[in-house]
C-alpha cells in the first residue's frame, strides 16, 4: 500500500519516468529545470484541486450561513475576482514565499503547522525504512541464493502480501495484539500521557530530543511507542525491497563471472555477498529511495490509526474538517518531498553507476 504499484512491477525500471525526462538534459541545470517543472506541475494540480473543482471555493471557506457581505469580502480577499491565470501566478508566488494560507481548524498559518508536524512523520518513516532495509535486503539475497526453495516461496508470499494488506488494517491488528493483548509495546501517540510535554522540542524528534536531554526513561518510552507503527511501515518497504533485491540478485547470479568464481572454488558466501551483491548496491539505492518516498505516503494511514501527530494525521484531520488550505498544503509538502527523494535517488544512481553516465 505504501508503495506505488507503478514501481511494484519490474517492467518499468525504478524511476524510469523521471529518468526519461532527466536524460533529455544531462547537465546540472537541466536537473534543476526538470525539478522546477515537476514542482510547477504539482502546483498546477493542487491549484486545480483547490480553486477549480469546488463549485464555489468561497462558500467552502465562509460556510453556507455567511451573509452576502461576508461572502464578497472573502471573495476579494481570496483574489477570486481575478482571472484564473492571474490567480495561478499569485498562488505560485505565495507558495514560493512560504505562504500556504491559514488553516481554518487550527487557526495558524499552514506552513507553521506543517513544520511542527513534519518531524514526527520523518522520525517514523526513517525508522520504518531502516527496519525495511535491515530485514528486506538479507531476505531478498537469501531468496535469490536458494531460488525455488520453500524459503524462496515464503519470501515471495511476504512480498505479495506487501501489495495486498491494507496498512491501516495491519496497524489496527498490531495494536490489538501487541498493545492490548500482549502489552509488549506502548499504545497510540508518541509518549505515555504523564511524559507528554516534559521534553522541550529541539529537533522535534522525540527519540533524539530525549537523548539530548539525557532523559533515558522518556527515550525508552518513546521507543515503545514508535516501534509498532515503524514496524508496520517497515513491513511494506521490506516487502518491496526484498522483492527487488531478489530480482537483482537473480540477474547477477546468472552472470558468467559468478560461474567463474564458483569454478575457481570461491566459497559460496563470498560469491553471494561480494561477487553478486556488490554490483546491485547501486540499483538498490534507487529502490530504497522510492520505498522511502512511498513510506511518507503510507504514513498517512498509519498515523491516523496510531494517533501519531505527524503530517498524515494533520492531512486526514483537515480532510474531515474540509480545511482546504491545510489539505493542499500537506499535499504540496508530501508531494514535494516525494519528488525530491525520487529525483535524488535517480541522480545518485547516475553518479554511482558508471554505465548510466
Amino acid at each position: 500500500m505504501a508503495i506505488d504499484q507503478q514501481s511494484a512491477t519490474p517492467e518499468p525500471a525504478p524511476g524510469a519516468a523521471s529518468r526519461r525526462i532527466v536524460r533529455g538534459f544531462s547537465t546540472g541545470g537541466g536537473f534543476v529545470l526538470t525539478l522546477f517543472l515537476t514542482f510547477l506541475g504539482l502546483l498546477a494540480i493542487t491549484f486545480f484541486i483547490g480553486r477549480v473543482i469546488p463549485i464555489d471555493p468561497v462558500l467552502a471557506v465562509v460556510g453556507d450561513r455567511a451573509t452576502q457581505e461576508q461572502y464578497d469580502v472573502a471573495k476579494i480577499a481570496m483574489g477570486l475576482d481575478q482571472p484564473l491565470w492571474m490567480q495561478f501566478i499569485s498562488y505560485v508566488g505565495n507558495v514560493f514565499t512560504g505562504d500556504l494560507g491559514m488553516s481554518v481548524s487550527t487557526g495558524r498559518p499552514v506552513i507553521e503547522d506543517l513544520s511542527r508536524f513534519f518531524p514526527a512523520t520523518f522520525e517514523m518513516a526513517t525508522l520504518g525504512i531502516l527496519i525495511g532495509c535491515a530485514i528486506g535486503i538479507p531476505l531478498g539475497v537469501t531468496a535469490a541464493a536458494r531460488q525455488g526453495s520453500w524459503l524462496d516461496q515464503a519470501i515471495r508470499v511476504v512480498g505479495l502480501l506487501g501489495y495486498s494488506v491494507p496498512a491501516f488494517w495491519l496497524g489496527l491488528v498490531g495494536l490489538a495484539l501487541f498493545y492490548a493483548r500482549l502489552r509488549w509495546v506502548g499504545g497510540p501517540g508518541r509518549l505515555d500521557i504523564f511524559y507528554d510535554g516534559l521534553v522541550e522540542p529541539v529537533t522535534g524528534m522525540i527519540l533524539i530530543d530525549s537523548l539530548l536531554r539525557g532523559e533515558i526513561d522518556i527515550f525508552w518510552n518513546a521507543v515503545s511507542h514508535i516501534i509498532l507503527p515503524a514496524a508496520v511501515l517497515g513491513f511494506f518497504s521490506l516487502a518491496y525491497i526484498a522483492r527487488m533485491t531478489r530480482s537483482f540478485m537473480l540477474d547477477q547470479l546468472s552472470q558468467e563471472f559468478v560461474t567463474t568464481a564458483r569454478v575457481k572454488g570461491v566459497p559460496e558466501r563470498v560469491v553471494i555477498w561480494r561477487h553478486a551483491f556488490n554490483p546491485i548496491r547501486v540499483p538498490l539505492i534507487t529502490v530504497i529511495g522510492l520505498s522511502y518516498a512511498g513510506l511518507l505516503e503510507g504514513s498517512v494511514m498509519i498515523e491516523t490509526v496510531f494517533s501519531w501527530p505527524g503530517i498524515g494525521n494533520y492531512l486526514t484531520t483537515a480532510l474531515l474538517n474540509a480545511d482546504m488550505n491545510a489539505v493542499l498544503g500537506a499535499t504540496l509538502v508530501i508531494g514535494a518531498v516525494f519528488i525530491v527523494i525520487n529525483k535524488i535517488s535517480d541522480v545518485l544512481y547516475r553518479v554511482l553507476d558508471p554505465r548510466a553516465r
Binding site: 506505488d4 504499484q5 525526462i21 506541475g41 484541486i49 473543482i53 501489495y163 522483492r243 480532510l319 499535499t331
Partner: protein, 300 residues
C-alpha cells in the same frame, strides 16, 4: 476432429477459430501455474459472491439487531456482529458488490483514457508527444494516494467521487504502456498499408493500434487492481469513500476501530476479505504476465 484439435489448429480457417484458439492457449498456460489458478479462483468466487449476494448472505446488510450487538464469531454469525448487531459475514458478502463496482469502474475509466492518450502521443510524436508525456510524467511522479485524497476532498466524500479520484490518479501508467507499444508498431508495414489505402489517424489508432495494446494493458490492469482496492478501502477508512450504512470493507474496518481492543472481529474480518481479493488479483496478474509477456518470464 475433436474440439481440442480445432482449438489448437496450426492454420485456423476463420478469424473466430484463431481468436478462440489463442484464448484457449492462454487459458491452458495459466492453468499450469498453481498460483494463477488460485488467483483466478478467488476472482471467480468474488464474481459469484457479488452476483448471488442476496442468496448467499444469511442476513441483510443493514438490518439492525441491537439485542445481539458485538457478538463474537459463532455458528449463527460466522464473523460475529457489529455495534448495531448487523451480521458481519453478510455485510462482507454484500460489500463484494461495492468492491467489484469500484474496481470495474476505475478500470473502465482509467484504462481507455490512458490508452487513448498514450496511443495519440506515440502515433503523432513530436510536440503532441512531448506535451502529453510531460503531463503524464508529472502525474506519475506524484504520490497516488495523497493525490486521490486531495481530489476527494475537493469533490466531496462519497463512493462516486472516490471512483473518479482513483481513476484520475491511475491513468498515467496506462498512457506510458500504450505509448511504448504504439512506438514499436507505428512503423510496421501493415500500418503503412492502411495509410496508403487512405486510412485516417482515428481509424488507424482505434482499429489498428489500440487492439495490439490490449494484452499488455490487461496484465497491467490486473496487477493494479490490488492497489485500487487498497486505495478505495483507505478512502473508506478515512471516511471519504463509501458512506455508512453501505457495507464497504474499508468503512467497516473504520467502524470497528473503536472496538479493536475488546471486540477484535469487527475490524479484522473485513480486512481478510480485502487481503484475499487483493492477493487474488496479484496472483492472476503475475500469471497473466508470465503467459502473455514472455520477455519478463522468470524475473519474479
Amino acid at each position: 476432429m475433436s474440439t481440442r484439435d480445432w482449438l489448437l489448429a496450426d492454420s485456423p480457417t476463420s478469424r473466430l477459430q484463431a481468436n478462440v484458439g489463442r484464448a484457449y492457449r492462454v487459458f491452458t498456460a495459466l492453468m499450469r501455474n498453481p498460483l494463477s489458478v488460485l488467483g483466478g479462483a478467488i476472482i471467480l468466487v468474488l464474481l459469484l459472491t457479488a452476483a448471488f449476494a442476496p442468496w448467499i448472505a444469511p442476513y441483510s446488510a443493514v438490518g439492525q439487531d441491537l439485542a445481539n450487538r458485538l457478538m463474537p464469531p459463532s455458528a449463527a454469525h460466522w464473523m460475529g456482529t457489529d455495534e448495531l448487531g448487523r451480521d458481519i459475514f453478510s455485510r462482507v458478502v454484500w460489500g463484494s458488490q461495492i468492491t467489484l463496482t469500484i474496481v470495474l469502474l476505475v478500470a473502465l475509466i482509467s484504462a481507455p483514457l490512458g490508452l487513448l492518450i498514450g496511443a495519440i502521443a506515440g502515433y503523432f510524436g513530436g510536440w503532441v508527444d512531448r506535451i502529453l508525456m510531460g503531463f503524464t510524467d508529472i502525474f506519475l511522479s506524484l504520490p497516488k494516494l495523497i493525490l486521490a485524497l486531495a481530489f476527494v476532498a475537493a469533490l466531496g466524500p462519497g463512493i462516486n467521487n472516490a471512483i473518479i479520484a482513483i481513476a484520475i490518479t491511475s491513468w498515467p501508467a496506462y498512457a506510458r504502456i500504450a505509448r511504448a507499444e504504439t512506438l514499436t508498431i507505428r512503423n510496421a508495414e501493415y500500418i503503412q498499408a492502411v495509410q496508403l489505402a487512405g486510412g485516417g489517424p482515428i481509424r488507424l489508432i482505434v482499429q489498428h493500434v489500440l487492439p495490439l495494446c490490449t494484452s499488455s494493458m490487461i496484465i497491467r490492469v490486473t496487477l493494479d487492481m490490488a492497489g485500487v482496492i487498497l486505495t478505495a478501502a483507505g478512502l473508506g477508512f478515512i471516511g471519504l469513500g463509501a458512506q455508512p450504512p453501505l457495507p464497504e470493507w474499508g468503512a467497516m474496518i473504520s467502524r470497528g476501530r473503536t472496538f479493536i481492543l475488546d471486540q477484535w472481529w469487527v475490524a479484522t474480518m473485513p480486512g481478510f476479505a480485502i487481503i484475499i481479493v487483493s492477493l487474488g488479483f496479484c496472483f492472476l496478474g503475475d500469471g497473466l504476465r508470465d503467459v502473455l509477456d514472455p520477455k519478463s518470464e522468470g524475473k519474479n
